[in-house]
Symmetry: C2
Subunit: 233 residues, 2 copies
């Protein structure tokens, strides 16, 4: 029985993969990446960047919030991984860190419950928000700052309260609600500062400084917003 | 004039350095690591692991919260870096991610204000909390979970409220107050789960599952606590 590795590829720039992550991918007899409509995903492209001849296959992951469709996809994916594990070590790759808003968690649970004896090792990755902060040279936390990580679906009333309470707010997947949250932020923190980065370290990267009254550009799926409630980093 | 690089070395395991971080260290004409009493730091040891003959020097960083002593140390460090930058590219290394509770921020500000023309590039790193989650195979966030990152000095009354509000709490530098916060956590979230990891990926690593009434071991400086308010990951 092989070992199942969850490998974090980092935030998008292929060179931000860890040395350990690359070593695991080199050794794995089978690598699975999330894919769509049989097509290549960004995660798959990062694997190919380092290992053009890697034994790479895609697990179909529907872009939906429909629980049943997702669960079917995870179960089928876990089945394919378990079949491969009978022959070799297997790696499943994700962008960023596998355990932070990652699809790896669902596969992990399916595999763990299907066969509790499988050895599972997680290789952490650089998160998208670390990459965004580095790209813009803005801090995430200093001293005893608190950082709240949330998604664009956060309730606006709660969000306003977070703006008064914490030093740093990071919004993942801002989506359609991100612009509204940014408006609320500058209404609550007139001296606050913020930045939106789309596709950090990838083709089509865009950096947008935020401020009161500024309109947000259309938000790519790979968008992250960092807000500092106390102002200039 | 050289380029100043802030390089995140990752959480302690030398192999969790990124490919890009290592490439920058190989190219730099001078590498500075935080040190104490002229001695080697863990950050320096990670550099030496990859590059035994690297042009590595230590910047004395007093282990104190005394603002004046720290500011003097940063100013002197920035002065040495600026002198080196007149001849070559310079890297300053930190554990974890440079912009998350990192000492790099202070040097960055000193250098930026002393000479706004210096080109500064930050290379992000894998954070300690990603490494702890991976080590224990516990999730950080799923779905639209919120994650609050804080330090052991957090006010206990506020902390109790965070326990009711958020799915995941991560405590950096738990120090003397960490045990008290864990007690409060299990009083607020009887179904909650938690883990304490000291020296993750380093010599002397220790993993301690947390629970109501369990006593915490003495907390090493490199300790991180992950708490899940909604229970089993």
């Amino acid at each position: 029985m092989g070992v199942f590795y969850g490998v974090g590829l980092g935030p998008g720039d292929p060179e931000l993969l860890s040395i350990k992550g690359l070593a695991v991918l080199k050794r794995a007899g089978r690598i699975y990446a999330p894919g769509n409509h049989g097509g290549q995903s960004l995660a798959g492209a990062i694997v190919r960047h380092h290992l053009p001849d890697a034994p790479l296959e895609y697990l179909e992951m529907p872009m939906t919030r429909e629980r049943e469709a997702l669960e079917t996809a995870w179960r089928e994916g876990a089945g394919r991984i378990l079949a491969s594990l009978s022959r070799t070590d297997v790696a499943f790759v994700t962008l960023g860190d596998p355990l932070l808003y990652g699809s790896y968690l669902y596969l992990y649970r399916e595999i763990r419950s299907a066969d509790p004896a499988v050895v599972i090792r997680t290789i952490p990755g650089i998160t998208g928000f670390s990459a965004v902060a580095a790209r813009c040279n803005v801090y995430l936390t200093e001293g005893s700052d608190r950082l709240l990580l949330l998604t664009g679906t956060t309730d606006p009333l709660q969000f306003q309260w977070y703006c008064r309470e914490f030093e740093t707010l990071v919004i993942y997947k801002p989506g359609a609600d991100g612009a509204g949250l940014c408006e609320l932020f500058f209404a609550s923190c007139p001296a606050g500062e913020g930045v939106l980065v789309s596709r950090c370290g990838m083709a089509g990267e865009a950096v947008t400084p935020l401020g009161p009254g500024r309109t947000l550009p259309p938000l790519d799926y790979f968008s992250i917003i960092i807000l500092h409630t106390k102002g200039k980093p």
